[in-house]
Structures are given as structure tokens and as C-alpha cells.
């Protein structure tokens, strides 16, 4: 089963508020419903309220780290596909995340079209896995 872009459900979790607001609006302009959270704990709460197809997750956040959020999501909601966002020059966290079950990772700053394509692949996997 494939979904149209306007049926995709995305949750974006990142501690950089300006970045979160702007990226969410850019995705919404493209028809992708995007909810947001500014830390790992509230991200998990938002995820439990409405299960998204894809979680866009910052790796380095104050408090609960991205990789800890990833582990909790893969344990409780394995069908949710997680794309890690990292600002680090090193891809170490991204690779570690993929070993923990992340769908993929992208490094900031990234190209929006590339991100949307990746979200599409992740949605297809999420829908296939449900």
C-alpha cells in the first residue's frame, strides 16, 4: 500500500526551536503533516498521542539523548521509521543509530528535496510494516 504525500504523518523532534518551526512549515507547504517537539521526553509523549509514520529525530539534545529516544521508539513502536538528524561532522552517531534500528540519517544542513525523498522511502517501509 502506498500513501499520497498528504497522508504522510511526520513527527519532528529537535531542540533548535527556530529550525523546528521553519522545517515543519516547509514540509507542511509540501503537503506533509508535521507535528513537532523540542526535546526527547515530549517527543515520546507526542508520538504516543498519535503514531507517525516517520520520526525525524535530532541526535544531540539536552536531557534525553536522541539515541535513547530511538531505542524507546523501536522498543514500543517498531513500525515507526526513524530518520536521525545530526549536526556533527562525524557520522558515528548516525551509524550507531542505524545499528539500533534507525531507517537512515541525514547531516545538517541538508537539502529539503533529499529529505522529502528519504521520508517517502521511510513512509513506504512504515506502511508495509504495519
Amino acid at each position: 500500500m502506498s500513501l499520497n504525500m498528504d497522508q504522510w504523518k511526520v513527527l519532528l523532534v529537535d531542540d533548535e526551536e527556530e529550525f523546528v518551526t521553519t522545517l515543519a512549515e516547509r514540509l507542511s507547504i509540501r503537503g506533509i503533516a508535521t507535528r513537532t517537539a523540542l526535546d526527547g521526553e515530549s517527543g515520546l509523549r507526542r508520538l504516543a498521542e498519535e503514531i507517525p509514520h516517520v520520526l525525524l529525530l535530532d541526535v544531540m539534545m539536552p536531557g534525553m539523548r536522541g539515541l535513547d529516544v530511538l531505542r524507546a521508539v523501536k522498543r514500543d513502536h517498531p513500525a515507526v521509521q526513524v530518520i536521525l538528524l545530526t549536526g556533527q561532522g562525524s557520522s558515528k552517531d548516525g551509524i550507531e543509530g542505524m545499528n539500533e534500528g534507525a531507517f537512515d540519517y541525514v547531516m545538517k544542513p541538508f537539502d529539503i528535496d533529499g529529505l522529502v525523498a528519504k521520508i517517502g522511502e521511510a513512509v513506504a517501509k512504515a506502511v508495509g510494516g504495519r
Binding site: 533548535e16 527556530e18 522545517l23 507547504i29 549536526g87 561532522g89 545538517k108 544542513p109
Partner: protein
């Protein structure tokens, strides 16, 4: 730990911040482009939106400039290790460039002014020593703790006094000396008996 390794760690942390700044700018510019090309907005609405986005972009650029300048100044300290260098300035640079690590642990760090401070003749020693101590403090202190650094001189030796009033701070920092094993030559770390804070001593070149 050598100055090069410490510099590598500091610059990696600062560059992470810088990439976040660039990502913020890129997304804001991208949104402006989206609003211009993808959304059918009237001129007044477009102008109103842009008015709110421009200050955000100025803010991001200012953040990036501070990071780049701090990294540049620190790079000069490492590349040109001949002292003296103002120790308080060096401490402030180090704290600014590692602030992301502190934020990750929900800590706040302040460098206090303390009258006449001193210049260190060996900036790399202070850079490595203070870098190691800060890193160990970031790892050990409980969330919401506030770490205060005060620079001064005692008996001709430069001193960075580290104080944290959090009730769990003393226990959290009990292993600080072990965590900072291998400090550079001439740099010392000791616990103060009077208030259980810590003092980092470093060779001091002159009073300023």
C-alpha cells in the same frame, strides 16, 4: 591530553553548533524561497512573513560570527603558543566554545570577573588543563547545576577556582582528580578544604 587533541574536541563541539546555525539559516532561506515560489501569497502577507524571518536570520548569523571568532582566537593560541595570554579571556573562550556540552547536560557555566587577573605564560597548559576539568565537570554534575569559575592569583600562581552550589555537587565531583589524571606539566588540581570546591593552578606570567 595534548593541546592538539583538546583543540580537536573543542573545535568539533563548536563546529556542531556552527552546523546547527547554518542549518537554521538554510531552512529560513529555503522557507523564504518556498513562500515566494510555492505559495500564492499577496504582497502584504509576504512582507509581513519576511519581516519576522529577517531578524531570526540576523540572530543566526550573529551566533555564527561569535563561534567563528572564538574558534579563530583559540586557534591562534594553539598555533602560536608563546605567552603571555590573558587567562580569563582564555577561560571565557573555552567555556563559550564548549557551551553545547554544558547545555546537553542542562548545566550553566559562568566565568566571573575577579579584579586583577593574571596572564599565563603557557596558554596550552591552561587550555588542556581547564579543558579536561570542564569536560569532567560536564560529565559528573547533576542537571540544573551552575558551575562558576573565578580566576585569580595566589602566591604568584594562577588559579581557576571552581564552585558549584548544587547540593549534590560535592559528591558528584568527588572523583574529579581521578577523572583529570594526566594534567599538563605545571598545572595542578586540588580540592579546597574550606568549601569543598576545586582549584586549578597554572603558571602565571605577570599581573595585568
Amino acid at each position: 591530553m595534548g593541546a592538539a587533541k583538546q583543540m580537536g574536541k573543542v573545535s568539533a563541539t563548536a563546529m556542531h553548533d556552527m552546523l546547527n546555525v547554518l542549518a537554521g539559516i538554510k531552512e529560513t532561506v529555503g522557507l523564504m524561497e518556498d513562500l515566494l515560489c510555492r505559495c500564492k501569497l499577496d504582497a502584504a502577507t509576504l512582507q509581513a512573513r519576511f519581516k519576522t524571518m529577517v531578524p531570526a536570520m540576523h540572530q543566526q548569523v550573529a551566533k555564527g560570527v561569535i563561534l567563528a571568532e572564538s574558534l579563530n582566537r583559540l586557534g591562534h593560541v594553539v598555533a602560536d603558543p608563546e605567552g603571555p595570554v590573558d587567562a580569563a579571556n582564555l577561560a571565557r573562550l573555552l567555556v563559550a566554545l564548549t557551551s553545547r556540552r554544558a547545555r546537553m547536560r542542562k548545566l550553566s557555566v559562568h566565568v566571573e570577573e575577579n579584579g586583577p587577573t593574571c596572564a599565563t605564560a603557557e596558554p596550552q597548559g591552561l587550555l588542556c588543563g581547564l579543558g579536561m576539568v570542564l569536560e569532567a565537570c560536564y560529565a559528573a554534575l547533576p542537571p540544573q547545576a551552575e558551575l562558576r569559575l573565578k580566576l585569580g592569583q595566589e602566591d604568584g600562581v594562577g588559579v581557576v577556582r571552581l564552585r558549584c552550589t548544587h547540593p549534590e555537587a560535592a559528591a558528584a565531583l568527588a572523583g574529579l582528580a581521578e577523572a583529570c589524571a594526566g594534567l599538563p606539566d605545571g598545572v595542578t588540581l586540588r580540592q579546597d578544604s574550606r568549601d569543598s570546591g576545586w582549584s586549578l593552578g597554572f603558571p602565571c606570567a605577570q599581573r595585568t
